[in-house]
């Protein structure tokens, strides 16, 4: 059945391929601002940081058209609008190619080089967003494309991805929301994360972490001693925490229709088990003040 639909989709996509011509234009801008906002669709946004004072931006707009329509004419219908208000620059893509017959392919790709303290707001759809390292406030809203964040270490960050993957390095002080895509992140420090219909894998956890995962798994490779509180709410998925420190932690586990497993070196202080629900309070041998609190529903919890 899957082969049948794959063939059907391939044929449908192949039927749209026609003789094509391509045209492109490049827009270059330079600003001195503390906040940059980019609103784009149908292309990639690639942001790197450097030791400098100006924001340097290059936008490449390219249109590929069938022989029936002129790509040059369509190219004129896509423009970049720039608004500078005080220390903030808002850049957005304006597309007037709507309401026309025939399949279109056009791209608007942003390449930005900015000082790492710049506050960055990116709203992008139908393309990927890559941000290297941001020390300022970072806000990304990504739809129908993947998001790559090297480092988000500013005081207040927001990363929301829908219908795409999130790959990240060090993410701190952030609100992370991923729906219908997997996320792989090197480390979380003071993060509130929500993962739905996809799996989240985080290398290291530290600070205060709150996770809400449903219809997917949440896994972490290592809990650092710098983790003071971890709260996980999981529904219809698995939770796996590896390398939890042997000292200083109390772990509260509870849930319904779920299974729980913890390392042998931890002792059970309290437990209550019903037919469909259970709760356990366990802790390191010498007790602990730091708390890992996991509530699972229709899933499993494994702590190593």
């Amino acid at each position: 059945m899957k082969t049948k639909i794959a063939t059907l989709v391939m044929l449908a996509l192949a039927s749209m391929v026609q003789l094509r011509a391509q045209e492109e234009k490049t827009v270059q801008k330079s600003f001195a601002a503390s906040t940059l906002s980019i609103n784009n669709s149908f292309g990639d946004v690639d942001v790197t940081t450097y030791v400098g004072s100006k924001i340097e931006m290059t936008v490449v707009i390219s249109v590929t058209s069938s022989s029936k329509s002129s790509p040059a004419k369509e190219l004129d219908k896509i423009n970049i609008e720039v608004k500078e208000i005080g220390n903030r620059v808002d850049v957005s893509t304006k597309n007037e190619i709507s309401n026309q017959k025939g399949v279109r392919e056009f791209r608007i790709d942003y390449t930005v080089k900015m000082p790492e303290n710049t506050n960055l707001i990116v709203k992008n759809s139908f393309g990927n967003t890559t941000v290297a390292r941001v020390k300022g406030t970072l806000e990304i809203r990504q739809q129908h494309g993947d998001c790559y964040v090297g480092e988000a270490i500013g005081a207040n960050n927001t990363i929301k991805v829908q219908f795409g993957r999130l790959n990240g390095g060090a993410i701190s002080n952030a609100d992370v929301d991923v729906q219908h895509g997997n996320s792989t992140i090197a480390s979380f420090n003071n993060v509130e994360a929500r993962q739905q219909f996809g799996n989240m894998k985080v290398g290291e956890l530290q600070g205060v972490i709150k996770v809400n995962a449903s219809h997917g798994s949440f896994k972490s490779d290592r809990v650092l001693p710098a983790l003071t509180r971890l709260t996980i709410e999981s529904q219809f998925g698995a939770v796996e925490l590896s390398e939890v420190p042997k000292q200083g932690y109390r772990i509260d586990l509870s849930g319904s229709f779920s299974t729980f497993k913890w390392p042998d070196h931890m002792k059970v202080i309290e437990s209550e088990k019903e037919i469909t629900s259970a709760s356990y309070q366990i802790q390191s041998q010498n007790g602990g003040e730091k708390l890992i609190d996991i509530h699972a529903s229709h899933g499993s919890v494994k702590i190593y």
Binding site: M16, F42, I97, S98, G102, E105
Partner: protein, 177 residues
């Protein structure tokens, strides 16, 4: 009552004495027919002009419409995959029929199963997203990336149903052992 009316009423008999000249009724009827004929003629002219205008509009639309989307699409500001090509229409038909089948089978399970209920809610949300994509397809001038996202949305919904069906079948098998 005016003085004239009073005078006529008072001398009614004197007025009734006059007889209309010969052929008066025929002449009167002919005049009436001519007036009706004129009225009919002007109505016919109106309808002829209206028909000609309608014909011009239809002819112009048949020439110009292929360059735009269908009236329904314009009205709703959205496009379906079926509007793109015959092949895409087949893809849309296939997924819609598979989803309808899967949705029905999940509905039967949803009453007592929170996971199925939650998945059904998500399927509804994904349908709303699909409607948004139809709008975006229209607004983007049928961009390839939106078409891909629409197929991906179909695939996602079907995969959600199939995974759940598989999971429920497996758990049923376990219970029966």
């Amino acid at each position: 009552m005016s003085d004239l009316e009073k005078f006529i009423k008072k001398n009614r008999d004197a007025f009734d004495g006059a007889i209309p000249p010969e052929g008066h009724s025929e002449r009167f009827l002919r005049k009436l027919e001519r007036m009706e004929h004129k009225e009919n003629q002007s109505r016919q002219i109106f309808w002829r002009i209206a028909a000609a205008v309608a014909l011009i509009i239809v002819a112009a639309a048949s020439v110009l419409m292929p360059n735009f989307n269908s009236p329904a699409d314009v009205q709703y500001g959205s496009l379906s995959l079926g509007d793109i090509s015959k092949e895409m229409s087949d893809v849309e038909f296939y997924y819609n029929s598979e989803l309808a089948r899967g949705y029905e089978s999940l509905l039967l399970l949803s009453e007592n199963d929170p996971e199925v209920k939650s998945a059904l809610e998500e399927l509804d949300r994904l349908s709303v997203v699909y409607k948004e994509l139809e709008k975006q397809l229209y607004e983007s001038g049928s961009h390839q990336a939106v078409i891909t996202a629409m197929i991906e949305n179909f695939r996602m919904r079907l995969e959600l149903i199939e995974t759940l069906e598989q999971k429920k079948n497996n758990s049923n098998n376990k219970d029966s052992i």
